[in-house]
């Protein structure tokens, strides 16, 4: 009897291990950021619209904001732009942009043509700041709370579903959110 039970048991065990592996495998490019629950990186970067001014992360403390990494070279960013404008119009949470490895002139043109949903856009020409945030494929969007902790990260174009299901419920109620 054990002649059959042993191989059968071994097979079942192997199948189980592989099934768990497949179940838990990262969902094609969806790698959980180790930064969630951690303080957002500190930065001081040039302002896209006013290059002589610096955007300081310290100035963002005390309020919720969405940190959106984009570039004019990124097709998905164009796809998500309409959604960013909708977020901006809702007035629920300010958008802080990070223009990643881009040409300033092109980025300014893009905002002029498509509309500017951002409260501020910081410029990351070298790509160093994006690395601090663990960015690997624009667009990426981080939700940061008033304590400066990253509470959520969305990979890829921001969709109405993500906004409604993942971001809005994390924000304080609309009346209290106005600040």
């Amino acid at each position: 009897m054990s002649r059959f039970l042993l191989p059968l048991g071994a097979f079942t065990l192997l199948a189980l291990v592989l099934a768990i592996g497949i179940w838990h495998s990262p969902d094609k490019g969806l790698i959980a950021s180790p930064l969630i629950g951690k303080p957002a990186p500190q930065f001081s970067l040039p302002d896209l619209t006013e290059p002589t001014r610096l955007v300081h992360s310290a100035a963002l403390k005390g309020r919720w904001y969405l940190f959106n990494v984009w570039g004019t070279w990124c097709g998905e960013c164009r796809a998500e732009h309409e959604m960013l404008l909708t977020v901006h119009r809702s007035g629920r949470v300010p958008l802080v942009g990070l223009d990643w490895k881009d040409e300033d002139a092109q980025a300014l043109d893009w905002l002029k043509q498509l509309g500017n949903p951002y409260d501020t856009v910081a410029v990351d020409r070298s790509g160093r700041e994006a690395i601090e945030w663990g960015v690997y494929a624009a667009p990426e969007t981080f939700l940061v709370n008033p304590e400066g902790i990253i509470v959520y990260k969305h990979l890829g174009a921001l969709t109405p579903e993500t906004w409604a299901r993942e971001i809005l419920p994390r924000l304080p109620p609309a009346s209290a959110g106005k600040s």
Partner: protein, 146 residues
């Protein structure tokens, strides 16, 4: 005709070689640092391509991460500090070589455990066979040794 074809093929190949730069032209002055640089860039995953290391990937982000490795080596960071720095931003997934941690213990232990199981199974089979041989009084085998 054939000559012309060969010559033009060779021309195309040469042109291709000329316009395709090596992915990573970095040469560090200190050979010891260069060796560590090469080793490290080969064990850090390119997050955009995922099955390539940053040493082999031509994408922009890989170049940026190679620059980080180079600068941190020059700043005197240890290999482990650089690996930890990468993993803190991009998760353990960025390391091709899994870290030694309790979470990864099963991963490192699995080959040893499997080897032990295999050895045990072998031992059982061999012992069962030799027990059979001892009770076998008939002719031995079929190799004409009757």
């Amino acid at each position: 005709m054939r000559r012309l074809l060969l010559a033009s093929l060779a021309g195309v190949a040469l042109l291709y070689a000329a316009v395709t730069p090596a992915v990573d032209p970095t040469r560090m002055a200190d050979p010891a640092l260069q060796a560590r640089y090469v080793a490290l860039t080969h064990e850090i995953r390119c997050m955009q391509c995922q099955n390539e290391s940053i040493a082999d990937s031509p994408v922009d982000l890989a170049a940026d991460l190679r620059r980080e490795v180079r600068e941190q080596l020059l700043a005197g960071k240890s290999d482990q500090q650089i690996r930890d720095w990468m993993a803190a931003r991009y998760s353990d997934f960025i390391l091709f070589r899994p870290r030694y941690s309790w979470r990864n213990a099963w991963l490192w232990a699995a080959p040893g455990v499997l080897l032990l199981i295999g050895a045990w199974v072998c031992f059982r089979i061999v012992r069962a066979r030799s027990a059979l041989l001892a009770t076998d009084t008939g002719p031995v085998g079929e190799d004409g040794d009757t």
